[in-house]
Symmetry: C2
Subunit: 351 residues, 2 copies
Amino acid sequence: MAGNTSGRKSTIYDIAKATGSSTSTVSMVLNGTWRRYRIKEETANRVLESARKLGYHVNMKARGLRLSRSGLAGMVLPHYRNRFFAGLAQTFEDQARSRGLCPIVVGTQRDPAVEASVTQTLLSQRVELLFIAGVRNPAPLNALCAAAGVPSINVDLPGDGAPSVVSDNRGGARAITDVLIDKLIARRESPDELILLGGIPGEYATAMRIAGFRDAFEARGIALKADAVDSCGYNAASARNALALRHEKLGRLPSGLLMNSITAFEGFVQFTSTLSPEAWRSAVVGCFDWDPFAAHLSFDVTMLRQDVQTIISEAFALADHYDPADRSVVLVPTGFGKMFEEAEQTKEFDR
Amino acid sequence: MAGNTSGRKSTIYDIAKATGSSTSTVSMVLNGTWRRYRIKEETANRVLESARKLGYHVNMKARGLRLSRSGLAGMVLPHYRNRFFAGLAQTFEDQARSRGLCPIVVGTQRDPAVEASVTQTLLSQRVELLFIAGVRNPAPLNALCAAAGVPSINVDLPGDGAPSVVSDNRGGARAITDVLIDKLIARRESPDELILLGGIPGEYATAMRIAGFRDAFEARGIALKADAVDSCGYNAASARNALALRHEKLGRLPSGLLMNSITAFEGFVQFTSTLSPEAWRSAVVGCFDWDPFAAHLSFDVTMLRQDVQTIISEAFALADHYDPADRSVVLVPTGFGKMFEEAEQTKEFDR
DNA sequence: CTGTTAGCGCCTTCAC
DNA sequence: GTGAAGGCGCTAACAG
């Protein structure tokens, strides 16, 4: 097997000794800048060959120390449990790699203490930029980065300590509400029975989505019922309970439902699975976010999908022209169903 | 706001100058080892205060260079799109952090070229250990790590270049097949109509699962039909097509199905959603892997769940007592349904 | 109790 | 064309 047997990693000194050249020659060759220094091709080849044989890898710690560039790009996000965050992570990795950076993404479980300590760690590793995704109050993290002179960008949830790029929740809500209202009308059902379920009062995404929901009704001059919006929380259990209450009061499922998150939608599925198929197949359902299983349920379900590609591109663009004083918020449009599916391609071996 | 205004990160020299002490004093204080060196508490406080004011963070690059310890733990995995890999990533991060390491996990999309280059990058960053998950042929990656003197552990898919920890696919298949056969018998249906759908002939996990599937039948003395096992591939489309063929030939759905992956199960859901509920509600279904939506579908579905906690713990244990010559394979038992759910807890704000 | 110093591995400038 | 030398920020002896 190739490689040194000593267990110690090989350095440019080892290569220099092995090839009888000097460390600077080795360095130049390994960096591809040797042509500029008119180093003999033969020498270069000898060095390259030796490096391969010794199983040499640049020590980014040393290079980074010297060049004060770590080659690391960081991203913190709550978790990988839904397609949106999984897609963000994936896209971030791809784009970071294509820029020659090593992506390093960390899940924080939405724990502010973890968020802070992870940020510190990433800063210690000297990441060259940091994307902060899905953090409710990113300001302290932005401050940390600012103090270290590292560009930080807020993603998905805006903050006032750095520029942000977020999905156009309001526009998306407006669009999906329009679709659902049209469907209800086509079925000769009353649009004002449509309810928006899930989310947290006062929370940014919820507020935006409620606004978009209202926009759609206002544009048609339809009055919203008092209980049309129920911000019962994001998680499955709360949505399930809220739905059970509605079901009991109404004696049946509402004819139209817009679920405020994939987890709320989970609660919806959990509840309806206790009902008979006839009882729920007729409901018109919409959901913020997308999931492959949910998309194929036997409902008439419309799913809003976020454009992770554009979100990440915009974030990198912001980082490129980083201005510490910039507080702009970039809005990225959403789409329906299978849009933005490129990233979902599966290989033959994927399971 | 705290922090230097120069944009340059502050160093221990800055602190030393600011506090009128020497770099070693600062270093000791910052490392918490100052008590041992009997440094005056007052001095220590002065240093700490100054560090805070200057927005100082250790430069792990420099410390790593000096100590030849990077504080980085690496993991490569195919993607985050299913709960198993997402759970592996999450658990890895948690355990790495609790060991004082900075987790750095990278998705490779199952592309061998990406796998290799990512490994090189991680090695360059001087990760202290590398977990290689879901890689079909980890041998080259193991070789790379070995050459660099970095412990590597294969996870999920074993390899002969390093120790491995994998789920007990055969035992799990045996157990879930038993459950399904019992259910069929309880419904007075013939167990030999149970089929195993999905996977790739010759691939490790598929082979193990087929063996377990056979074990269950053999133990009961039931003969397996010739077409009981259909390794039609892992992805949703192939499973959907294979199922459509069966459906056409049989004139109905098979009474029992064991899907070889969550993606194959996706194909199953896609196909059955085109059928009437009566046509599929009676089927007895099983699946390797778990998903929150799939778990609440209106099927009688039994899902096998992998124990990511134990898998990662075992992998760390292997890394702790790393022996380059070790080629052992640790088998981790699987469980059903909601087992191992601790990691799935969602917070109020989770969406 | 605290300061001085010698590298960790690499890159770059400047002589030769 | 190539070698020597300095220094990136930090730590651990070793002197005081």
